[in-house]
Every structure is written in structure tokens, then in C-alpha cells.
Assembly symmetry: C2
């Protein structure tokens, strides 16, 4: 685990000074997969027909891992990761890898690291979320090389900035990217931040897209995984607090793909985001 | 601890069906004080000249308790509590007990219960916050007998309600009372909820007052208690998200009493709230 932490510390440092350490992210992911392949797995039940398991060393149990998205052969990840990098076209601001491969590659990079922390360093609860930010910020930087990547937006006349997780900006505005592995009660934050931006800047200059992994939660008493969804809250916030541009999931909860939600707010996967939607958001800002 | 949990369960049930079980709240508080008087105390340092200690059974350590606010003699609490009840004037919608006594009585009732849970039932992390709501809701009910007490506000045309902790309403609007022992990152919630209410109802018909205990946090590695304050966030939210009417603390953090905050937002104690401000809020709604 010390090697994992050390690699993470190094690439985080590189990211924080503006780098996009995509090769180190890959090295770290393959290391995590190799370590996880040495421990047991426990199967989970899920109501929606999806299949999940957890890594376990007999004592600690990892978060649920979706079987069909997780690449457990490090060679497969290396191959797909490099294909993804090759498929990046910064002129078009697109990554034209097939949808399912984008989702699978990113899911594996995020979850292999998070599951390692679940088992071997449970006390560092925030680190997997930070790493998720680093992965997304690094990748998007390769697609939007003309944009400035920051972690917050300065508000004229206020000492306090709006601390969103990732911002890609130009002098015309920016794309605001709250990145949350799962949202839970923190779903209010991106809406509140968008509302503040709408109050301070001309409407439309900043747009928020919420990037998540899933909304799964395991019941600790049973071998059951469920999606924790709050459709009414999302409808209420989108109608009366502010408008997010879209929400993207690596493992979308099916409840959020139903009509009452998608009529108000686009919910989709990372294939759609990296192949189409990011370019549409970025175009007017370039 | 089983008796404490049982008493809490009974009075919570009475509260949930509309009751104001003030006598049971007092009984429970005196029981908690008696139990806590059987364990040790550890002293804390605080930068701001306030004095704190923690209860400890040698294994678990309670949250910090402010020495000059906590009544550790159950007879003192009983006397002060009954004086408080006698000082309630529902015609004027005021409780005319001296400021320091109101703060002290309520602080003792909330913290004796919370500290008992810290030591003997650490896993029930949300119960102290629920009990804080029950204490406040019960007491305010005695001052505003003509108002309807609920936990949420229905939004016309939405299936989802705005779940604030306590609402006292009439057909003209209501007083919205988020109750949080400490706010931390949840400070965004009352501002977001007020914003939604402003978007749905005529401005001014619903007003929010945030009721808290303190913002103290102990450093687990040292014997030091500090206030965790986010003045920039509060200024930003009050300027650009929505306007809270006021924030009240039983143990106010001194940072929030400084000019840059109180110029934008009233921050005061429970004496001010129960002796003056609640009546001013309630008057136009009656």
C-alpha cells in the first residue's frame, strides 16, 4: 500500500502544478489491479439486473465493483488506456473511443484505486474522490489544451471563491465540473454553486456538468447493492435552485434515466460526454 | 444507556405526533447529567479564552463541553428549566428568562444527551441532532401555539417537499428553522432551501433562522478545541445564494460576531431569539 500511496502523492503533486500525468495514472491503476487480484471477491445481489462484487481481504470489504465494467486484467487496461489517449483529438475537442470502452477504462482506473483504499487504508476516506478529480482533470486537459484548468472561480468583490472541483475556463467563461464518486446529500452543492455563478456572471457564461461514478451503496447487513436515488430532490433543485447542464455517470443508476428526470436534465454516460457533449460546451468559449 | 435510549424513543414519538414533551425532555437531561457525573473529565485548551472539558470513560471521549454553560447539578437544571417554562408568554410569543439562563438551560439539555451518546452509543451519530430538533421544536411550540409545526414545506406542482428541520407556519407563510448542532459543510443547505422558497413563494413569506449549538471541534491529537469557521463562505452565500434572517448559537464562535459577518447577517444567541426576535418574525404571520 505504501507504493500506491507514494505513486498517488507524486502524480497529485504533478497535477496540482498544472500537469496531466496520464502515464502515472495508468501505472497506478495497473498496480492497484495487481494487488486486488491477490485478494478474494464476494458476490453481491442487485435489484436491477446488474452484477457487482466486492474485493475483500477477509477483514475489510471494498465498495461494490460492477463486474462488466471493471477490467481485471492489467494488460487489457493498458491497451484500452493507450487507445483512449490515441483517440483524443484536441482540434475537435473529442475523444472518439467507443462509448463502452471509455466508460470501462475510466471506471477501472477510479475503482481499482478506491477499492484499494477501502481495504488497506480505510481511514483516508477522501483520497479516492481526489484521485477521481485528478483522472478527469488530466484527461480533459488533453482535450482542451487552450483552456485554463483551475479548482475554483473568483467572485469579483468577494474574498471567497466558489470552490468547484474542476473548472476549465477561457476569458469568455468556463465549464464547471463538480466531480463526485457518489453524490448523496452533497447533490445540493453543484446546484448552489451554479446559482451563485448565475447571480454573479452573465447567464450562460459558466455551465455545470456533474461527473459521477455511481449511486450504489451496499447494505452492510445483507449481500445486497442498491442505488440510492433522490429523483424528487433533483427535480426540485433543477426547477427552483439552478439548472445544471447535465449529469454523467460511469455506472448510471437506472432511476435517473427515467422520463421525469431526463425531461428536465440530461443524464448520460462518459462516452456521450467525451465523444460529443464536452466539445459542444467548449466550442462557444474557445 | 438503555434507559436513556428508551426515554428518548418515547418522547420522540410524542413529538412526532405533534406533542411538546417538555417534562420528559427535562427528565432525560437530568438522567444524562447523573450518568455523566459518574465518569471522568478531561480538560481542553481553547484559543479564545473559553474553557472546555470532555467527559470520558477512559475509552471514549465526548465532544467538548463549555464549562461555564453546562449545569452539572441536576437540581440547578430542574430549577432553571421550570423557571424557563414559567417565563413563557404565548400572547407576547416571548420567553422572558434572562439571556444567560436560556443559553445555559438549553445548552445543558442538548449537550448532556449528546455527550452520553458520544461515550456510550457512538454508532448513533445522528440521534443527538434529532434530539436537538425535538428540544427546540417543543419549546417554540409553547411560544407559538397558533402555528402549525411541520418538518417540511410542500412545493406546489412538485412531489418533493423542502425538508427543513422545523417549520412553524400559518396560512400567511412560515418561520423555517434548520437546526444543526454544528454546521460544517451542511451550511449550504439552509441557504439553498431559502433560495428555493424565494423562487416558489412571494418573497418574505418564508424566512429562515438557523439555530446551532457551536462550531467547536477538538483536535484528536492534542488537547485543543478550536472553532471551525467559514466566514468567506457565509458572506458569499448571503450575498449571492439567498438571505438568511439570522443565525443563533448557544456557544457563538467569536469569528462570526465580527463586523464583516454581522454587517451582512445577524448572528446572536438564544436569549435574543427567545426574548425578542422570534416574536418579531412571528407577528406578521399571526
Amino acid at each position: 500500500m505504501r507504493t500506491i500511496e507514494q505513486l498517488h502523492g507524486e502524480l497529485k503533486k504533478s497535477y496540482d502544478i498544472g500537469g496531466s500525468p496520464v502515464n502515472q495514472i495508468l501505472d497506478l491503476a495497473t498496480l492497484c489491479i495487481e494487488r486486488l487480484n491477490c485478494v478474494d471477491r464476494a458476490d453481491y445481489q442487485h435489484g436491477g439486473g446488474k452484477s457487482y462484487f466486492a474485493f475483500t481481504d477477509g477483514e475489510e470489504l471494498s465498495r461494490p465493483v460492477r463486474s462488466d465494467l471493471f477490467l481485471d486484467n492489467p494488460d487489457d487496461l493498458v491497451r484500452a488506456w493507450n487507445e483512449m489517449l490515441k483517440a483524443i483529438n484536441p482540434d475537435q475537442m473529442k475523444c472518439l473511443l467507443p462509448d463502452n470502452l471509455i466508460n470501462s477504462v475510466l471506471y477501472t482506473a477510479v475503482i481499482s484505486f478506491a477499492a484499494s483504499f477501502d481495504i488497506w487504508k480505510k481511514s483516508s476516506r477522501k483520497t479516492p474522490g481526489t484521485h477521481f478529480e485528478v483522472i478527469l482533470g488530466s484527461l480533459i486537459s488533453l482535450l482542451l489544451p487552450d483552456f485554463v484548468r483551475t479548482k475554483f472561480i473568483r467572485i469579483p468583490g468577494q474574498s471567497e471563491s466558489v470552490s468547484t472541483d474542476i473548472v476549465f475556463g477561457t476569458d469568455r467563461g468556463g465549464i464547471v465540473i463538480p466531480a463526485k464518486i457518489t453524490t448523496r446529500e452533497r447533490i445540493v452543492q453543484p446546484f448552489a454553486h451554479q446559482r451563485i455563478l448565475d447571480s454573479v456572471f452573465p447567464i450562460g457564461s459558466y455551465q455545470s456538468v456533474l461527473l459521477c461514478v455511481s449511486e450504489t451503496q451496499r447494505d452492510s447487513k445483507t449481500e445486497y447493492v442498491k442505488d440510492i436515488c433522490v429523483p424528487g430532490t433533483i427535480r426540485l433543485f433543477q426547477a427552483h435552485l439552478s439548472k445544471l447542464n447535465a449529469i454523467y455517470y460511469l455506472d448510471p443508476p437506472s432511476r435517473y434515466m427515467e422520463k421525469d428526470i431526463i425531461d428536465l436534465l440530461k443524464v448520460s454516460d462518459y462516452g456521450q460526454f467525451f465523444r460529443e457533449d464536452l466539445a459542444l460546451l467548449a466550442m462557444p468559449l474557445r
